[in-house]
Symmetry: D3
Subunit: 315 residues, 6 copies
């Protein structure tokens, strides 16, 4: 493990919560990635979909002050295993979607080029395409997608191709995702046609609906995910709307019958041994998060990602 | 299936969500019922109970813009099977309860007379009595009641007979509901006396408490409901407080330990093959619905009703 | 005055507030403009600026149920003087700004072509450019702009020309607004450079800052506006952020020290005798309008516009 | 001055704010009125008008914990001059309006019979009729009405006579108010017809509109009020909607252009020397009072009433 | 059972909900404990931890107006079995922690000395130490702790010993809790070190993590609790954050993956036959409780405590 | 003027608002003060008073993203005149008041020692004592205090000397403030005794009540302030509750009848020519700031301070 720079999170046994410039868990804000294992960065962009999600990186960073550095279930002191920094935000230009995707790609590529694992905080789900380009350009990645929706539509308004509803069709067309090693978890809800899920399957994706998650349980879900991606390079994207509205009320496209946070945590914690090359957390909409439970859910998912990184780096 | 008039919901692949006058799912607002299978109508009345629920029809119509036209679980394109319109609202006169019940009865009767299935959006639970009179006057209907409470009290304040707490006693007294073919699901909570549930049983109702739902599971609950109502003409009333406060925080009489939306959906989806003559959704209180999850829950339940209607009409 | 169609607003002496499909003041929703003096329409578009304002047309329509049909100060029964309808919404395609401006132009042009006065409800302020094209294409209009900001910037992100910050420079460049007959009221706040207001003046606009409004009072402000536009064809655009945050908290770019609603009403009521060809009300952001005071402010401004139309049509 | 019982408010120099059972300013909750100068009581009733205002007495009591016992402007230690208690609430039976008016009358009469001045906290404005019957039955009282609306309509829904919109017509008809010694302050807004204010004048009321308050200033308003009521027995009713929505967002019928709290305080403080026989504060709607500023406004107005009582009792 | 004094809760069949001075369930507010089985009292103190929880006793009392007097699951009319009063609040002096703990101890001791069972409403979790001193001074009690956290840290800021994070280490050190008969339920989340739970075990506590609750189910959890405390004198402390954020969003330290209210109720209801000497409910933070579901959860837990007391007193 | 380091605020013409780590106006976060004219720092401490204000520095930094770099009224490009940085936060240890005051003093002293002007963001008003010690230790400063309250009480709870209600008595006793050159603006409200204001005057302070501000107007107020402090070294403390609740709803001790933001801005802008040695902005309570208008008010006041600094440095 690399470790010479100061990347400890804020210590709330010594300073009060809420103190200090708001970075993720109080980690150092820097663009210097020497010796850094993972870099968290914000993608404050929402023009391709849910208006308001551009404010999520700030809210999730703020909510992350509730997190403590060790993981009880894994019995793991994350920050003694890996160096993590807060890389700041991608510069985006709303409502210019394609230009902003280039910016997301560029920032993610900088992180990847440093040998650091990128962890993005959206923003609407369209931003993931920019990250996937950065990690999958040379060789397509496997995708683990937690989501209520496939986001594999073709176009909106007859010819609009880059939106929050289309990234995972574009990613296959662009060759940055290998759908035959990829899987979607948590799909449900009202859909546009009776073939919505079949359209995703036709692209090559495997699907576990929310109803199936309830039927087979988290451990079996995790097993199917691990079997699907095997030892391949893998990107995990977590759309907060895979969670039930009771657990994540502040999102743009609420769908009843989603995963509980208990189920989501139980799945994520069993995804050890995968060769992760990136993560993101998207679709938190601060305007509806009165009690901040969605932001805390988002921050906690990132905490879970960090635990997986720590386990991966120290295996 | 009848189909000549324009009853498609708004198409959010072509126009942005939130566009257009707010009707349920963007359906046509009309009082012309020729060829219409189901008519959704609002009952903005709350004088018999929870103040504020009078604003629910508007909020639920607004929230319904999140719904898409096909049902993934049933694999069903609802609006290619049935014609549905938004009939507008009953004219009510708060705080005149009995006069308003007459208005609810009259509007429901208009819909029924056109051979159209009525789907009401309350208001407080007392409004259901008006609808039951319309569908059960000639012959008593069976009742499927999702609720935290029996609503079979006799009087409030010594002699007030028409309130949100009394409709299902009145309905039996008036001969519009056949309690011996009826069933209540989700009862729980603190009660007035240790005989509250027995009072409902004495009227003839069968009861499945929320604790029993948890114990036996949704499939078994659906089976008991189907066995209870058999092939009889049936009205389904869904009090949003049958759901747990985590899933439906915006209601007047919160009771812990309720159904999850996952359970409610799983039960509703299995109620196929029943001869439904009407539905309603009541007790959403907009003032407490910051993130709109209760309104979305209400709108989704109506979406589930529509799927049941589509399956019934096309069987 | 024309008057054969049914254009009375909802009568809340006879039906409860909040009853009925939500149109502006309960006016008829129709695209038939024969004999119609003014048509209110929504422009649910926010991609050029403040995310979330796309939901304002629905909220303002809902809030308008608090309004009654007569104007106490003018002693005027508006709807016995003019026919008004709710025309529904423009079809927009976020985040496609230029295409959506075309749609706004087209819908406004339809209304204008029918000899009906258009009253738009935005959306962010960029939408006004579409309306100005429709009313000013043949001959440039005078502009009365209530606003905290000039919205005459040139570009954002080096080359983005159509945003909420640029419409009133574009309108001059396109020849649809005659700046030398136009005036801005309420400017204030922090600005990009010390020449922001001078830039607007250089385009030809007259400016009354918020501080000047406080100094000279509403009657003098109204007099300067009337002197400026004279007898020319005039469009009035009301950005809700011209009001102080205390009076309009739910907007995207809060600026302290704005007009009180008392001042705004006192100015608007004195703008009689002007040849208005259109109005709009923009930049209400529903997500921050907990107590709905901003939406009610917006709805009331439209009510004031209607009074001006009624006085103009009956002069 | 009488003073043997313990009627000191909570002392927040010695115990923390928010401590203790929630009574108005922490005053003793008792029905024993021996030696008591003024009794505050709640009227949690809203069936005749604004749903939700039934919760206001509790919220206003809670908000009153911000108040301190002395009045800076009057330089007056109120509770060393007068004994005040919290009498609890009237027992009401929603939605039974007439029966509840009887209860309000009865409770108010108990307080009056003890020689104690009643200070009611509504509830919607219809409750004032019950109080006026208690104080005006033997001899009609003068009325000082702070309000955005006349509340002198005749009927709603053709024949409903007791609502939040009708009490001050009923009070004249019943002979409990002498309109020719009475005055309304703050009227404004959209109205039902162009004769709404004239209808109130025809009943005998004098009117000062909100626009006139702005024009002549608080001192002149107070002078006109004092001239109007002279030395007669006077009841002051304060509908919180006389204030501007910026100052009182949480009420049922928001009207722009209302009084500022600065103006309202300046008027109230100058109403010394009047023979008050009762007060009330109505139409606070807690559901919309996120930051509690309306409740604090309501509590402060009651504090101002108490100062007037103290000055009256010690003159 | 003792029963001569008037300790019935408010009867909402006869008076409207929300009527009357706000005490717990409308119980009599008195410091006279003769014949009283249980006394509910508030501890409005938050200086040792979560700012804002000082307002919880008022909110929970208000929310308790939704509760009815009988318990459906136990089939038990609680208030015909036991006498309960609302004792008011402890006098606290923020930010003086140690002095306030003395006050909490003193008030609790008064109640205990009267032979009455104390039921406290916090406040942050540090207040429990004051209560434990009162019940455990003569002989250490067993502790049943529902919580997301151990609250057994040693010091904050190097030497601050009395905080919301430390009471259950202090209680063992002071000899007022017997850790070897005590048990914590619901622990989870991010922690300070990988030994956080071991530190609590080293003090002698048994632990059932939230994940274990999900695995073994409520009945087995209840069985382990009963086995642990046996026939010993037992205090039950319920930190609302043991519940999942979906069920209790308004608390200071949200942790995903917590107990559902269904699970918590199912456990509590099975804790019959234990010799309880006190209860408390802590860490509700009103500022984040928009829809009041956390306050209702808190009030309901107290209702469940009362049922256990009634069963214990009548066994 | 010094200017070599990069201290430009974020440029929202080039990057979207809300992008980037949240510092005040996007200024550089650094502890390097070489060449820095003013340093903004947070004081997230609330144990001496209003719980929740500890979160204000983060919220105000976030809200400051609405500000632009130039000042329209002064016609001043602030950041081309002075170098400003965001210094981060003081490390505080709640609830340890005296220890935290030492920390505030130490951090402020660091800034002062670098020849940089300190601008603090509280926190409750008690924090100002720490800052005053840093700037007034060697020689007492003059104080300009915008506030609803004197905050010159002696003790709470008999002997607690350091609270939000006492700093300006302590400051005189400690010799860090020269009361005879100091002035309080905006006092009003209910008070503890009829001598509250006299107590402050007895200490030497001059007072302008809120009622006097309304009477004499902002220009005269500014003149009195300037006359009072003359050419002496001056600290300006701005308690957000000097503003009316309509303009600053999110604060701990709401008092009606406060200053409008228009008045406050008009006063501040006229305080040129004073020898300022420090500023702070205190008592914003984020939990009640739904629409963020209070945070924006707070951020704007700091913007006004910066303009005064720029004018002072360039005079």
């Amino acid at each position: 493990m690399s470790n010479t720079i100061g990347t400890a999170p804020a210590d709330h046994v010594r300073t009060a919560r809420g103190s200090g410039i708001s970075t993720f868990m109080g980690l150092q804000n820097t663009r210097d990635l020497v010796g850094v294992d993972a870099a968290i960065f914000g993608i404050p962009f929402d023009s391709g979909g849910t208006p308001g999600t551009r404010w999520a990186p700030r809210l999730i960073r703020d909510a992350s002050s509730l997190l403590r550095p060790a993981h009880a279930w894994h019995r793991l002191e994350i920050f003694s295993k890996i160096n993590v920094v807060d890389y700041g935000d991608v510069s985006v230009q709303p409502p210019m979607v394609e230009r902003s995707l280039d910016g997301i790609d560029a920032t993610t590529s900088e992180i990847v080029a440093a040998g650091t694992l990128p962890i993005g905080i959206g923003g609407e789900h369209g931003v993931t395409l920019g990250e996937l380009r950065a990690v999958g350009r040379d060789s397509p990645v496997s995708l683990i997608q937690f989501d209520a929706h496939t986001d594999t539509y073709d176009v909106y308004y007859d010819d609009v191709r880059y939106t929050a509803g289309t990234p995972f069709r574009r990613a296959v067309e662009e060759g940055v995702v290998a759908a035959d090693r990829s899987i979607m978890i948590g799909l449900r809800g009202s859909v546009y046609t009776d073939r919505d899920f079949d359209d995703a399957r036709d692209l090559g994706y495997e699907i576990i609906t929310a109803e199936e998650v309830a039927d087979i349980g988290p451990a079996a879900v995790a097993e199917r995910i691990r079997a699907r991606v095997g030892g391949s390079r893998t990107f995990l994207t977590f759309d907060i709307d895979c969670l039930d509205p009771a657990h994540a009320p502040a999102t743009g496209t609420l769908e009843l019958g989603g995963l509980t946070t208990r189920e989501a945590l139980a799945i994520l914690r069993r995804l050890t041994g995968i060769d992760f090359v990136g993560f993101d957390l998207v679709e938190v909409n601060p305007a509806f998060d009165g009690a901040r439970i969605t932001a805390v859910a988002g921050a906690t998912m990132i905490f879970e990602f960090l635990a997986l990184v720590a386990l991966m780096k120290t295996k």
